[in-house]
């Protein structure tokens, strides 16, 4: 179950390059025993059913899913309690290597590349790749029938690789697991190939779609553990073996309607499944239940506190980052225009470097890279620092333009009155430059407010992240999307009008303003 292909590749690459040589931090087994808690990294926001998701979207603690049951069983076997640590799926391995949690388990396929960075437990589940087509597409039943057809899948997944190796198929890669099924139902695709659990939970309940034929291929999910945590790896493997032995694993998978042939073969338990699947049935019932207007309104009301909480995080993160960006931006602009030569070069290099590299990479460096050098920054501080340092480069350019718009003659008039160049800058040049810079600073702040959603890659849950979580768990992209957009708009509004007022006030000395 890999998601968001482009970012995913980047993140894994980063994990490899930066963290391959990560210093040995505290032994996770010791840490777990000392605290009595097994910290488990997963993405409950977009992980989605049936892995980890929210039973009640308005309650962020209501995690359910077959991996929640499995995690609890594992923790029990290890004699500790389970605690979920939220992180985006792409960042699960970097977070593991950084020491944010003891294990990462979230439908992570065991592949050669990943095995270079982390150790994997013995597979706890084996998924096949399931073809899903529209109910009336009787002629499509195997991969061989798909020549010349449009087939959707998740970017970077095993299924994607299978499709690309089959001649004549037009592959369409997605970032979220429900989207391909929606497009299939709307006839934008001819078929979808994805891991069986996803097909069962997103394709099968849709009456317009049907599962075509038996699953093909195989991909194994493993628990990811840091390379040097060999003792923890041994304990987890032993625990998994006991759970398989006692039939507990099978019971969990049957509960969730996921017991399948590949897993049965892997666990050496070929008895066919006849058990009911209550968790799956409940899921389908909730999904297909009738929704009246009033239940919808009540639902939105219950989501609002969560969204507001996220909005508050976005807001204070952005304000703090902007203050940092403004302070550093002024220093950079002044250094570049009036500083001694070496300082000018430093300011120039800073601005160009920061503007020439993606914010995402900068955040990764700050949060997942710096621990390599022994510097560990908590998430919120890293978010403020990352956004602030990045925006400072843009602010510096705004202020530089503003400063340059004030003519050199103003500086000459000031110094010929005996002011030092520092006094001239402070009392004559800067006040005029600020007025010129205000509109672009406001624009930047509003852009920053929206950009701040990027901090979700370093485990911070803000407005966009909350919104994604809610819509992934309710499938209501329209309503929640509009609600979220309204919140962003309302947050930016006071700042835009404040800036207008400030600008007008400061321009009162201009004739044209009256």
């Amino acid at each position: 179950m890999s998601q968001r292909a482009a970012r995913s590749c980047l993140a894994w690459l980063f994990a490899g390059v930066l963290l391959a040589s990560a210093p040995t931090t505290a032994d996770s087994l010791d840490d777990m025993r000392r605290s009595g808690v097994l910290l488990w990294g997963a993405d409950a926001v977009e992980g989605g059913a049936p892995y980890v998701f929210l039973e009640d979207p308005a309650n962020t603690e209501s995690h359910v899913g077959f991996e929640v049951d499995l995690g609890n069983a594992l923790a029990r076997e290890l004699g500790v309690k389970l605690k979920l640590v939220q992180n985006t799926w792409d960042s699960l391995v970097p977070g593991l290597l950084r020491g944010d949690y003891h294990i990462a388990m979230n439908g992570i396929e065991i592949t050669e590349e990943r095995a270079k960075e982390v150790n994997f437990s013995t597979p706890y589940f084996v998924a096949g790749e399931q073809l899903v087509v529209r109910a009336e597409s009787y002629e499509l039943n195997t991969l061989a029938d798909l020549a010349g057809k449009k087939v959707g899948t998740l970017g970077g997944s095993v299924a994607e690789r299978i499709l690309k190796n089959t001649a004549g198929i037009e592959v369409v890669s997605y970032g979220a697991q429900n989207a391909p099924y929606d497009d299939l139902a709307l006839s934008r695709l001819d078929a979808v190939l994805m891991d069986t659990p996803i097909a069962v939970y997103f394709g099968k309940p849709n009456s317009k779609l049907r599962m075509a034929g038996a699953s093909v291929g195989e991909c194994q999910y493993g628990v990811a553990i840091k390379k040097d945590d060999l003792r923890l790896l041994g304990e987890v493997n032993a625990a998994l073996a006991r759970l398989a032995q006692s039939g507990e694993l099978r019971r969990i998978y049957e509960d969730w309607g996921l017991w399948n042939d590949p897993t049965a073969r892997h666990l050496g338990d070929p008895r066919p499944s006849v058990a009911p699947a209550p968790r799956y049935d409940a899921y389908v019932k909730a999904l297909t239940g009738e929704v009246t207007f009033w239940t919808r309104v009540k639902r939105y009301a219950s989501y609002l506190p969560l969204l507001l909480q996220g909005a508050w995080t976005s807001l204070y993160l952005s304000v703090a980052a902007m203050l940092l960006a403004i302070a550093l931006g002024v220093a950079l602009a002044v250094s570049r225009l009036y500083g001694p030569r070496p300082l000018q070069l430093v300011a120039y290099a800073y601005v160009e470097l920061v503007r020439g590299t993606p914010l995402l990479i900068q955040l990764y460096l700050l949060y997942y890279g710096l621990p390599n050098l022994g510097v560990e920054i908590p998430p919120i501080a890293a978010g403020i620092l990352g956004l602030g340092l990045n925006y400072a480069a843009y602010e510096a350019e705004n202020y530089r333009a503003g400063l340059q718009s004030v003519s050199a003659q103003q500086m000459e008039a000031a110094v010929s009155l005996g002011l030092s160049s520092r006094q001239a800058l402070r009392h004559v040049i800067l006040p005029q430059a600020v007025r010129v810079a205000i509109p672009s600073v406001t624009n930047d702040f509003i852009a920053l407010l929206k950009d701040s959603s990027i901090v979700s890659v370093i485990t911070i849950v803000e407005l966009t992240n909350r919104s994604r979580e809610l819509s992934a768990n309710t499938f209501d992209y329209m309503g929640i999307g509009l609600l979220t957009a309204a919140l962003y708009f309302l947050m930016g509004l006071p700042f835009a009008s404040l800036a207008k007022r400030l600008e007008r006030r400061m321009a009162r000395y201009l004739r044209s303003a009256t």
């Binding site: 003659q409 103003q410 000459e412 008039a413 000031a414 110094v415 010929s416 009155l417 005996g418 002011l419 030092s420 006094q423 009392h427 004559v428 006040p431 005029q432 007025r435 400061m506 009162r508 000395y509 201009l510 004739r511």
Partner: protein, 264 residues
């Protein structure tokens, strides 16, 4: 500070062997002249002869290459003085020598009164109330007592230049330098500015005025210096230089103005 003559022992302005080049172009060329104290000296000369550059050398806006300037009791010698020493001397000169620009260069974000009181507060540490009281006196003096709280962009050229002069005066300078103070003004606005210069002359300030107003030079100046290619072409009393120039080239230069001005 042995090179700095004590205040009060102000002996006018002495310029000796002043040279300034921009790249390979020598703009001021070994110029020597003495400007009398407490008088109006007018600097004349064809466009590009180095008048502005000379003026800017006098208050350190340009760093000259060689020679010596003694002004307001401070002497600057090049290339002997450089770095921090040069900076220190230039900053002393600037506190005693005011400059008035062709384009006024008032601070647009400050009211006229704030334009006047800013430098005394920052440079001299004058308390705000005293600086503002003095500022009001000076505005009164240039006939703008009612414009204290107005922003410069709401004034027209003549009043702006009078504010600029008052701003320079707020630092109590011994010398005032003017670079074409009236050439950006409407003709009917010129007199009100010239009037201020006359009044200051009565108070004994040394004033150097770069101008193309021959009439002004003739009527108000006590000393006239004609420059050509960075050197002194001719100097002396206005009546002598303007009515009866010794140099043929002065004659040629003045002839261009004869259509508008006939001395005597």
């Amino acid at each position: 500070m042995s090179t700095t003559a004590p205040a009060g022992e102000d002996t006018g302005i002495a310029i000796e062997g002043l040279t300034k080049s921009f790249g390979t172009q020598r703009v001021v060329d070994g110029l020597s002249v003495t400007i009398p104290k407490g008088q109006i000296t007018v600097l004349l000369g064809p466009s590009g002869c180095g008048k502005t550059t000379l003026l800017r050398c006098l208050n350190g806006l340009e760093t000259f290459d060689s020679g010596r300037i003694t002004i307001a009791g401070v002497s600057i010698e090049r290339p002997a003085h450089s770095g921090r020493e040069l900076e220190r001397r230039v900053s002393e000169v600037r506190q005693r020598v005011g400059m008035v620009f062709q384009n006024f260069n008032l601070f647009p974000h400050l009211t006229t009164l704030e334009n006047l009181s800013l430098a005394p507060q920052l440079v001299r540490g004058t308390p705000r109330e005293r600086a503002q009281a003095r500022g009001r006196e000076l505005l009164e003096m240039v006939g703008l007592g009612d414009k204290a709280d107005v922003y410069p962009s709401f004034l027209s050229g003549g009043p702006m230049q009078r504010v600029a002069i008052a701003r320079a005066l707020a630092m109590e300078p011994q010398v005032l330098l003017y670079d074409e103070p009236t050439s950006a003004l409407d003709p009917e606005r010129v007199d009100e500015v010239v009037e201020v210069l006359r009044r200051l002359d009565a108070e004994g300030i040394t004033q150097i005025v770069v101008t193309h107003e021959i009439a002004f030079a003739y009527e108000a100046a006590e000393h006239v210096v004609v420059l050509e290619r960075g050197r002194i072409l001719e100097e002396g009393a206005p009546a002598a230089v303007l009515r009866n120039p010794q140099e043929e080239r002065t004659r040629v230069f003045l002839r261009r103005f004869l259509s508008t001005f006939r001395p005597g």
